[in-house]
Symmetry: C2
Subunit: 520 residues, 2 copies
Amino acid sequence: MTGSRVLNRALRSKIMSASEAAALIPAGSNVGMSGFTGSGYPKEVPAALAERINALHADGFDFKISVWTGASTAPELDGALAAVDGIEMRLPYQSDPACRARINAGQMDYIDIHLSHVAQFVWFGFFGKLDVAVVEVAGILEDGRLVPATSIGNNKTWLDQADKIILEVNNRINPAMEGMHDIYYGTALPPHRKPIPLVTPSDRIGEPYFRCDPSKIIGIVETHAYDRNSAFTPPDETSRLIAGHILEFLAHEVKKGRMPENLLPLQSGVGNTANAVMAGLEQGQFENLTAYTEVLQDGMLHLLKRGKMNFASATAFSLSPEAVDDFNRDVDFYRERVVLRPQEISNHPEVIRRLGVIAMNGMIEADIYGNVNSTHIRGSSIMNGIGGSGDFARNAYLSFFMTPSTAKNGQLSCIVPMVSHVDHTEHDVQVIVTEQGLADLRGLTPKQRAKVIIQNCSHPSYRAALQAYYERALRESPGRHTPHMLNEAFSFIQSWKAEKAAMEVEKAIHSGLAATKVPA
Amino acid sequence: MTGSRVLNRALRSKIMSASEAAALIPAGSNVGMSGFTGSGYPKEVPAALAERINALHADGFDFKISVWTGASTAPELDGALAAVDGIEMRLPYQSDPACRARINAGQMDYIDIHLSHVAQFVWFGFFGKLDVAVVEVAGILEDGRLVPATSIGNNKTWLDQADKIILEVNNRINPAMEGMHDIYYGTALPPHRKPIPLVTPSDRIGEPYFRCDPSKIIGIVETHAYDRNSAFTPPDETSRLIAGHILEFLAHEVKKGRMPENLLPLQSGVGNTANAVMAGLEQGQFENLTAYTEVLQDGMLHLLKRGKMNFASATAFSLSPEAVDDFNRDVDFYRERVVLRPQEISNHPEVIRRLGVIAMNGMIEADIYGNVNSTHIRGSSIMNGIGGSGDFARNAYLSFFMTPSTAKNGQLSCIVPMVSHVDHTEHDVQVIVTEQGLADLRGLTPKQRAKVIIQNCSHPSYRAALQAYYERALRESPGRHTPHMLNEAFSFIQSWKAEKAAMEVEKAIHSGLAATKVPA
């Protein structure tokens, strides 16, 4: 593809500026935007829309839209629109500091739902009508089909469901990615659903292009911009320790005959710890690995490159600039070993359970009975969202939740008597890991879980206090199945030291400085 | 079948008394027993074992076993063994007063897991070795295959996984049930799993008999006893109101085009409210209904009989004595319209999501943000267990959770600021229903949910207090996404009146008088 990537002649008449396209989005509309973990989001129209909104607000007009995406996007989208107070409601996952601040100030509505639920709820009509889709693509074929970009997310659903479509055709995207995508068109509404015919991560069950009704396209904007591509941070000591515990445990499970020698397909959240696990696998004993995950980070590309991993299925990339360079250099190599799918397939309970995925996700805190909080600070402020962690944890063969044992330089314990918000219940959490150690909760009762979590996972400076809570609860609790003293259950969060630290976390959230631990 | 139902000649030599069979169960063993919601449990061996344990305890010997079942059983099993302190650990669901008392006194271990997870976790080896299976069947064919009884539960897995098998052949079971069961033998361990080829509730994908390695059978006991068959209680006014709200809502969804005119396959928990919904459907507008559920109660048989429902798939019956009589009279009619499956299939996320099930489950309490507690009193005492409610709620097309708005004659509000135990998170709860009204939470943010739950579902005598909590939290909460004051979040549970009522609930639990609201 040289020159314009809009190969369909009829559609060339729709090419316009970002401002012209932004002007076509009505106030109050529901807008489905592309974007997943900072890749494949529209680069220019949201910013142009933000500018328009800002001007209208200055003139005293109301103007907000609701923004539906795949997952988190970038400052050019969530950041720009939140900055001008242009978002009425946002779903399903975000990690933008400006968004987060508005949500927690009560100025923006946010619905936090399982990523696998989004597309089907839109098809079911549960969120109302999708008015406009704004989707980044890598090109438009002569016959009008679309070449997907660096993430798929919910784009198929946005294109199918929206009344009107605005496309951003980004010619920065490596044209050799063509053929790497697999868009499944076999979904249906109940009672007409059929089995999804995917039995290994490398199966292709769809088409490499999006279908798109050309009569719905109201604007095409040609862009030339990279994804946000955050820099890669080498794993720190804490992450390396967490990764070490996980790898040791996996080796133990293989030895016990509970897992094949090449493990089972890996799912890994984003961030430092996830990359540390990948780095550990790069050095480790396991061969012929596969991944069935949401997001491909640097670590998985390394595994593919080193020949440790044979194939990776995801819905999006989230790469460092160096990894992007490597990817573009060896795109022919990667195209044979990577497939990007719609997130309703990458996160589908049916497929995750069938494949027997090994799920590894970050969390904010766990309690001594194995309930996990992935989303809230002090039960009230949202960090990012649950993302796909629930899709994977509930349906995985084996599910890890990991966190450093403390936050805020040791001022907060990430193991607490009772989490202040539950995203993953005691019924869904199998293994908890901190740099201190690993708690294998499979087949344990609540009281047995408490013992191993406190002993293996809590930081030594909080261990005695947790143990004291547990032992006193064992004596004073009205029931002894899950011993609790409800009037003290949040004491860790409410103690003076913790209170101060939590306020700092919240200040950091509001100013956008807090590190993101939860996967997209 | 006349005379002995043990048609395999070689196996006749294994016929023995219940005491002789009970003597073959070693101390400390893991025993997989049949039984689901009071049907299909072994009638004599557990009681004989309890007698043996009691005698051994009297002589100063230790003797306990771990008991794995399908779900709840009956006094002859859970009750008898708990009464003599014979159970070390119990999974995955129980509703027996003696069991419950021991668990909450800290004298018995209990693991509460999703019903769909049980079989696969045993196959994965997560609970250790299954030593003995004790399974009730309706007969043994000449070739050694087994005719299943009135529930399937985890029996296939117990028979496949146990080292040794004791069969109870119950000749009270209507022999004409033969052919009503569908045992799926297509499961496998990852990475060898394939799609489950079930696309409508009436599909048969397996065989009507259990396969069974005869060399593992160490004892056969011939019995002649009915299932526990609780009496049918006509719906009370509260249940009728709840049912009315649900039926009105379903009609509304059909009118909006979000559901077919014959709805989608129904799942319904057990109990009064569930029967009230069925009674409402019997009078209502919907035709050609189907069910894909765990348990068939009287209400569904009525729907089949009246021609309102075409087909019902379940894993167990739970009938009144009158319904049993009706069933036996018209067994040929019902055999064409009912199938019993293993619970790993009846509760499988893949199938539930594919079919688009309408899930209706009871709960203990909900909070104003839509989190649901299905299992615990005051965060610490177990009531029954989560059962299959998580399998269905997470994967359903539409999921209802229902409860009267108050418990203990109005002394406890079942709508609270924060639930003391979370079994279903805000991400998994779509519709909450009490006799006061219905809250449709689809597409709502936490604050929007709080408004409709308080307004529509809470009892008028608690509404102002809930509203006051919410409004004050909105001002004082550190974050305003999910406004909470953690130091007051459990105030409803801890207030004097509530405290007193909760203690009564616990006393009732211990004495076995508490009504069971949560489905098996």
